[in-house]
Symmetry: C2
Subunit: 540 residues, 2 copies
């Protein structure tokens, strides 16, 4: 995987030169978007997914150089090698095969000479059968009552993607099992969740690849004590999603069911594995989960096969690199004009920032350029009444708008100002992208808008499982492509290790004090000492 340092690509040097010209007045977006052909030239449509990058601060020559950059970085080749099972996550010596979880074609995917698909298929069948038994009430709780709720104990990659998809789909499909999320080690997360459930009709789904994640294990302990206090048997209420042979997959600790995760699927790319499969199938039925997977797969095939200039995730990754590395924008907002997508930004925040927030290249060399940006976002139109003042008149940042052509709720509706709510929503989405691009001259400086603020717009047809799958897979592929071009490993996360080590030291101090009330924190750094003393004193 050795490749030249990003900055040494010939296209990079050319792009540096081109970026300087973008400050010229005729390159202002208000002028660029006058070109009637621009939308056609700078948009891609694929199978119910539309990507409009005509309001990005690029022109044809920049786009050509970006595509050349992708070629120099062998981005498509790497993507193909990823999907075919190569050990592409080199720092962790692993393959990266989340795409295989949604590949229903008969073609095998070999990893070290073994086809991984039969094992994936086996887990999927196991989920299907288990969920059927829960929904048909063949499996019930300790006291003979059918299950109505499930608490998902998992954090980060074992939580955010599932929450995004659950939130998106529950608008159109009424859950058969209602999901609750218990990611945080904060005891008040637990305290709040148990207010929302009936212990006798509740499943607990513990998701952790290693079954050692601190937060997840701490919450598992709370769940086990809670079950015990309610005289409920974990063997009737506990489900695990974990690696084969982990402590969560140990027959001496009987659980209701255990589903396997695989080493070749990283947490933040795991929604389409059992991590999402178990809770989402319980919520909506396994058939809905399969439809979601098929949507993911459609986008995977596009990301793999579409030529560079028509490849939505790749072009989108290149635009992101252009914005961060050449136009120096430090952040990007994701603004779905859709309530159901309210948890998209938190998921992509993890997916993207954990994948690309790196300081070394894939080869282990220090990086001399920006990798990734801050991702944040809220649904529109809400965001218009929140931080869009800043978007229009503060320091600029690119915005990604997402529109859904057809809403879920189509019953009789009132109109207001002569339009329906969904039309009002779209009027605003369209207007915001225009306003950011064109700006407005005004002699009164408080009412002057500089404009020239870039945005993209993504459209999907609806909120079906297929469309949500395509959207999720689009962001996965784009993140991977961006890592490939930048030369970083989008699959490891060594940056979280230092905090874990220091937390472990502090935990040991707390444990010592728990065991011996006379134990003193005096030997510690004064700040650490102060916080621990305050914690034990219980008052400021």
């Amino acid at each position: 995987m050795n490749q030249p340092e990003f900055c040494n690509f010939a296209a990079c040097k050319e792009l540096k030169t081109l970026s300087k010209k973008m400050n010229q007045d005729h390159k202002h977006l208000k002028n660029l978007i006058q070109d009637p052909e621009r939308l056609n030239e700078l948009s891609i449509r694929e199978d119910g997914f539309f990507y409009d990058f005509s309001k990005q601060r690029i022109d044809r020559s920049i786009l050509n150089e970006l595509i050349r950059l992708a070629g120099e970085a062998k981005a498509k080749d790497k993507f193909s090698r990823m999907m075919s099972g190569e050990i592409i996550n080199m720092t962790e010596n692993r393959a990266v095969l989340h795409t295989a979880t949604r590949d229903f074609s008969p073609a095998p995917v070999f990893l070290n000479g073994t086809d991984v698909k039969p094992e994936i298929q086996r887990v999927n069948e196991q989920i299907k059968e288990f969920v059927l038994k829960i929904h048909s009430k063949k499996i019930k709780g300790t006291t003979g009552k059918a299950f109505t709720d499930a608490v998902v104990i998992g954090i980060g990659g074992s939580y955010l993607g599932c929450e995004f998809v659950f939130t998106a789909l529950k608008h159109s499909i009424t859950p058969q099992i209602k999901l609750h999320f218990l990611p945080n080690v904060d005891i008040d997360n637990f305290g709040q969740v148990i207010k929302e459930i009936d212990p006798e009709t509740c499943l607990w789904i513990v998701i952790s690849k290693s079954y050692t994640t601190t937060e997840t294990m701490a919450n598992l302990e709370q769940a086990l004590l809670f079950l015990k206090n309610h005289h409920l048997d974990p063997a009737h209420h506990l489900v695990t999603v974990t690696s084969k042979g982990s402590p969560g997959d140990d027959p001496s600790n009987p659980v209701l069911a255990s589903f396997h995760m695989f080493d070749f699927i990283g947490g933040r790319y795991s929604v389409s594995s059992a991590v999402g499969g178990v809770p989402l199938s319980l919520a909506f039925g396994h058939d809905v989960f399969i439809r979601f997977l098929k949507g993911c797969h459609r986008m995977d095939l596009h990301a793999l096969n579409a030529p560079e200039d028509k490849n939505i995730p790749l072009i989108s990754a290149l635009i992101s690199i252009w914005n961060s590395n050449f136009l120096d924008y430090p952040a990007q907002a994701i603004i779905p004009y859709c309530s159901a997508l309210s948890k998209l930004a938190p998921h992509i925040q993890q997916l993207y920032m954990e994948s690309l927030g790196k300081s070394t290249t894939m080869d282990g060399n220090p990086i001399g350029h920006q990798t990734g940006v801050i991702i944040f976002g809220e649904p529109g139109t809400n965001a218009q009444h929140s931080f869009f003042q800043f978007a229009h008149q503060g320091s600029p940042f690119p915005v990604e708008f997402i529109g859904v052509v057809n809403p879920v709720y189509t019953k009789a509706q009132a109109s207001s100002k002569g339009v329906y709510n969904h039309q009002e929503l779209w009027a605003n989405m369209i207007a915001q992208a225009q306003a950011l691009a064109v700006g407005k001259d005004d002699d009164e400086k408080a009412k002057f808008f500089s404009g020239n603020r870039p945005s993209s717009t993504i459209l999907i047809n609806d909120l079906t499982p297929e469309s949500i799958g395509m959207l999720l897979s689009f962001y996965e592929a784009r993140t991977v492509y961006e890592g490939f071009v930048l030369g970083v490993n989008p699959f490891d996360q060594f940056g979280v290790e230092l905090g874990k080590i220091l937390a472990s030291d502090i935990r040991n101090q707390i444990r010592n004090k728990n065991m011996d009330a006379n134990y003193s924190f005096d030997s510690l750094n004064p700040a650490v000492q102060f916080y621990l003393d305050t914690l034990f004193k219980g008052s400021l």
Copy 2:
């Protein structure tokens, strides 16, 4: 209010010089925090509120210059003039008196010669009586059933603060009336909310100062049709919070109750007015809302009276200015180690970014310096498993940690690894601030941490209404102080106007098409035309 351009303050010039020295190795945080006196010197404690800025990249000389800067900008003087009712929001020719809503002292607050407090008090009494009648079931719905739920129709400042406080308090106080939020004009927001309520036992609280906010009016129309379809009388189910004499306060449109908002309280500063008062009192009781107000007031008095070097909101504002204008950080994360504070960051995102994302000074001149930064955040430890990889090894940004000394849930708990969940939570909060500051050398570059990444830590004692009030008021005062020092008006929001104008144009186009199916969008910009055609076609 004329003041020198920010960059021309003598302190600013000195700070520019000092900022260059901060890249020296002995100014690295790992070295600075070795000083055993640092925490004492660079922290402030006030009445159950603790602010630790010892892990910011400052030293005593920088702090002194920042305090001098506040003096040059007459920050405290402006704050005092604000609280006393001066017309300090000059672009809109308004006073700014959110602080008066929680001032229970007998002292009058004069605005144009009239004491505003009796009118505020009258509205508060009206809320108290109304809520008592709802809770005691003296007021019931059309069909004679007591109210159990309320849908809050409001967006931006009429929504985010209330949602933050509701979410924070519901962990410790079980709501008597459950709140649902309907901010978004997206019809699926409405579609989802009506799944969660029983129409016969539901109040609708419409919050809009002008009673013309597009989203709020569109959702009001949906609510009215919904009530009609269920044969329910708006006069028994609808409550308005609006300006005196607005269309929502018109006796010819009878409603169950109407509560007044005032011109001198801006949306994003309005939680302590009837905007928060009506829904929060319905949820938790008016006594709880009063306790919240008293917490706000305690912090107001501190912000007003504490000397500059001991003034938490002011020092915090100066640190923020130091980070954005001198160390060039483009963003700040707010990470409460507390599930109950999960809606704090979205509220502060609005409060701060809408207040400070400006391109003109208070005097209407273009600004040559950074004003405000991007605010984003999620609760810890969740954030550690999301974007903290980026925080440790990506482009640096300051973090604000928030810890709560005492959790709500204190029932029998399991321990894990020898510590309780709340202790584990704190171990992580402490460790993250340390890890960001000190970093770690490692020959293996993927495991190298540069450190020197600044953070603050705020502690509050608990999640009582008083503590939540202090926290909210702290962020309000800090935002205001930051605006005062930067020389921008933190109370207007002209940057949202252009989008509204363009949306209105597009709405007119849609309305024309609604009225005449043959109406064509051909005359419009091709991009706008494409989006409108897609919307009407209903398919990509």
